[in-house]
């Protein structure tokens, strides 16, 4: 019997070093590590990992190539179903998806599928650095046209899949830069923008036309698009940030996570005044929330010079929706976790700037509908947390714009576009996916939606 091999781990940059810059935290596998890790895969006949992948990557297939040292074939294998491997290898919650299903995980540690995906994508990236992608547009081109709204993960995936099938695809992006949440939301140290740009260039190399500064709904309605395009995919993503509706949330110094990260990631406010969009980060920053976005906002604050950064969360760390890895890294970097705490009011100083948060101590009660224990306030537990900046990171509603301007488009009470299993919305020829359907979800689920819709659009138009 073969000796039991232990899981390879990527080397990380030290916390002290990395909080001084925006470069990535993990350094990635070495080729030797990748091959050793790939050899741990037992190549299941009925691979459960694939069922855990929203875009159904042939995981044992690509890992087999890695084990043989054929990294080029490995990445091509992934790209059969996933156009954005360098992104997914970084931001997918693999521990809840493919790796959760891995048979090795029952008795030991799952194969590091995500890290392997990242490795081969980066390998390919290093090879094509100076030449534009060698991908050629599909030879069997069709004359049907598809409009894709949004250049985030859902839109890019849908556009890429349809272009590969030969359709004429146009992506309409409302912002001045492509990538959606990959660009404005996820910070550089978790997902370098050079990678996002390269993935967008790859999609363009497939023949997709990308138009920025185009707000669908206002410039053209969906109805107007349907005159020129045979199908429309709505991937317009997350929208209005949620607030807690507590007094003082409109004070200066209180940001939504969307605004905070948009200023930093998209507008490069850290480079003010060379970049003209300003941001003000105080000495003490409190980030309210326990998801990945909250961790991003907290870790960004630290890198921009905050002296103390708090995560304020009403439950305990165990209930946090953020990836364990992100929570761990936040801890390593010195983020202070203030759990079982609920802000109930923000107070301003004489200049109208937020000065402290009035908070309540919480304790966990009975489980609620989400299965997590409901936090209940402890009577008489009011106390103050002094802050200069507050970032509210408690989620988003779906972007309201397209539904607002499309009366026939059926939406849920909370704003999500209603679709069937194929991603088809209530208007014939109109499909939707990603956060516009799900509220705030993951990059990979958005990509999965884009894929499903692309398949359905192809079936509709080939029929």
């Amino acid at each position: 019997m073969a000796e039991k091999k232990i899981r390879q781990h990527m080397q990380n940059r030290s916390a002290q070093e990395r909080i001084k810059d925006f470069k990535e935290v993990p350094l990635g596998f070495t080729p030797e590590q990748a091959i050793a890790e790939a050899k741990r895969c037992i190549q299941c006949k009925k691979p459960l990992c694939v069922s855990g992948c929203p875009v159904e990557i042939d995981i044992p297939g690509f890992i087999k190539f890695v084990a043989q040292g054929d990294f080029e074939s490995a990445v091509q294998k992934i790209k059969e179903t996933n156009a954005l491997p360098a992104v997914c290898g970084r931001v997918c919650p693999q521990e809840d998806q493919c790796e959760k299903q891995c048979i090795l995980g029952i008795k030991g540690e799952a194969v590091a599928i995500g890290n392997l995906e990242r490795f081969v994508a980066d390998y390919e990236r290093s090879k094509i650095k100076d030449q534009s992608s060698k991908q050629t547009p599909s030879s069997k081109s069709k004359d049907q046209k598809i409009a894709v709204i949004g250049s985030g993960p859902a839109g890019l995936t849908c556009a890429g899949d349809l272009a590969r099938k030969g359709y004429q695809v146009t992506v309409f992006e409302s912002l001045h830069v492509t990538g959606g949440v990959l660009t404005y939301g996820i910070p550089e140290f978790r997902l370098p923008k050079a990678i996002v740009n390269l993935e967008v260039e790859y999609i363009k190399s497939l023949g997709v036309e990308v138009k920025v500064d185009m707000l669908i709904g206002n410039v053209y309605t969906i109805k107007e698009l349907l005159k020129d395009y045979q199908a429309v995919f709505i991937g317009s993503g997350a929208g209005l940030p949620k607030f807690m509706k507590v007094p003082g949330e409109n004070l200066d110094g209180v940001y939504s996570a969307n605004e905070y990260l948009f200023r930093i990631n998209m507008m490069k406010a850290w480079n003010f005044p060379a970049n003209l969009t300003p941001i003000k980060i105080g000495k003490r920053v409190a980030v309210v929330g326990g998801g990945n976005v909250a961790m991003d906002a907290a870790r960004v604050s630290l890198r921009l010079g905050a002296e103390e950064v708090y995560i304020i969360y009403r439950r305990t760390e165990k209930e946090m929706p953020a990836r364990l890895e992100e929570v761990h890294r936040a801890h390593e970097e010195g983020i202070i976790f203030k759990t079982l705490i609920l802000p109930v009011k923000y107070h301003a100083n004489a200049d109208g700037w937020v000065e402290f948060a009035e908070c309540l101590q919480m304790e966990l009660g009975e489980p609620d509908s989400s299965g997590r224990c409901r936090p209940v306030p402890v009577a008489g537990s009011e106390f103050r947390v002094s802050v200069d900046t507050v970032v509210v990171a408690i989620g988003n509603s779906p972007n309201p714009l397209v539904p607002q301007r499309t009366p026939d488009l059926k939406v849920e009470k909370w704003g999500g576009v209603i679709v069937n299993e194929q991603g088809l919305a209530s208007i014939p020829g109109v499909y939707a996916g990603g956060d516009i359907v799900r509220g705030a979800a993951t990059v990979i689920s958005a990509m999965g939606d884009g894929k499903v819709a692309a398949k359905a659009i192809d079936q509709q138009l080939s029929a």
């Binding site: 920025v212 929208g239 209005l240 509706k245 409109n250 200066d252 939504s256 507008m267 003209l276």
Partner: protein
């Protein structure tokens, strides 16, 4: 890139540019705005669409040079290009036959009311337009508005043109004559809009104001443009910019306009150095 076809200085620190944007010209309605990024490193700033020409596929934008990004924008000559232009944005003004409508424009707001005045007049309203500015030179679009309105009243702070006083004085007098006013629309600096609302409120005259909070993406994502209206948080970029002025918390708006005032000088100086 978007080409500036024509540029002219309307007053000290107020410029008008006409840009080629057929898709915006086609879709734009009165009361809507655009976001402009003059150069790649500049801010995204919202500006009202002052006019459009469907045939030529152009829109006019009138702006006051108040900070770094508007200074940069003003430095681009006719024939030059701006990096990005997004629009039309916001909910259009509600235009129907109301009866008698008083449209008030103050400062750079004067240019912004032009499409609204035109639209309301075309819908069959009696449109009384009141414009006011600090001095005569700031009274842009006077002739255009005179033609478009049923009646035009002009005020200046120093009396150099029209009545000496404020737009709200004209509004008060008009109310005092007892003429039935069905709607007031006020566009301009926050204090002006607030005073107009104070004047109309006791008389129960519905008053719409066009708010100008800080915006970033302006597409319903970042939430910086949140304003308090009737005790509820509204997002001006997708739910506005027009709101019922009697419900607006102006103090909140004023406070939310000021957080970067102290660093604006730094940005302005930087741009001045760049332009040298």
């Amino acid at each position: 890139m978007v080409k500036i076809l024509k540029k002219e200085r309307l007053a000290e620190n107020i410029s008008r540019i006409i840009v080629a944007a057929p898709h915006i010209a086609k879709a734009a309605k009165p009361g809507q705005f655009i976001v402009i990024i003059p150069t790649e490193n500049a801010e995204r700033i919202p500006l009202t669409i002052a006019d459009k020409d469907l045939e030529k596929g152009t829109i006019s934008i009138i702006f006051q040079i108040v900070g770094a990004t508007t200074k940069l924008l003003d430095s681009i000559p006719a024939g030059g290009e701006i990096a990005h232009l997004l629009g039309p944005l916001g909910v259009p003004s509600h235009i129907e036959k109301f009866g008698t409508v008083v449209v008030i424009g103050g400062g750079v707001g004067i240019a912004e009311i032009y499409p609204v005045v035109k639209g309301l007049k075309e819908a069959g309203n009696k449109v009384v337009t009141i414009i006011g500015a600090r001095c005569k030179e700031m009274l842009v679009y006077q002739e255009e508005l005179r033609i478009a309105s049923s009646e035009l009243k002009v005020t200046t702070d120093n009396g150099a043109c029209g009545r000496k006083g404020f737009v709200s004085d004209e509004l008060k007098d008009m109310i005092a004559t007892g003429e039935k006013i069905d709607l007031v629309i006020a566009v301009g600096p926050v204090p002006m809009m607030r005073v107009c609302c104070d004047v109309t409120k006791p008389h129960g005259i519905k008053t719409m104001v066009s708010l100008n909070p800080i915006m970033l993406d302006a597409t319903g994502m970042c939430g910086v443009c949140r304003v308090s209206v009737g005790g509820q948080t509204k997002f001006a970029c997708v739910e506005g910019p027009e709101f019922d002025g009697h419900q607006v918390d102006f103090a909140d708006l004023v406070a939310r306009l000021k957080p970067y005032k102290d660093v604006e000088k730094k940005a302005f100086d930087h741009v001045c150095r760049l332009l040298k």
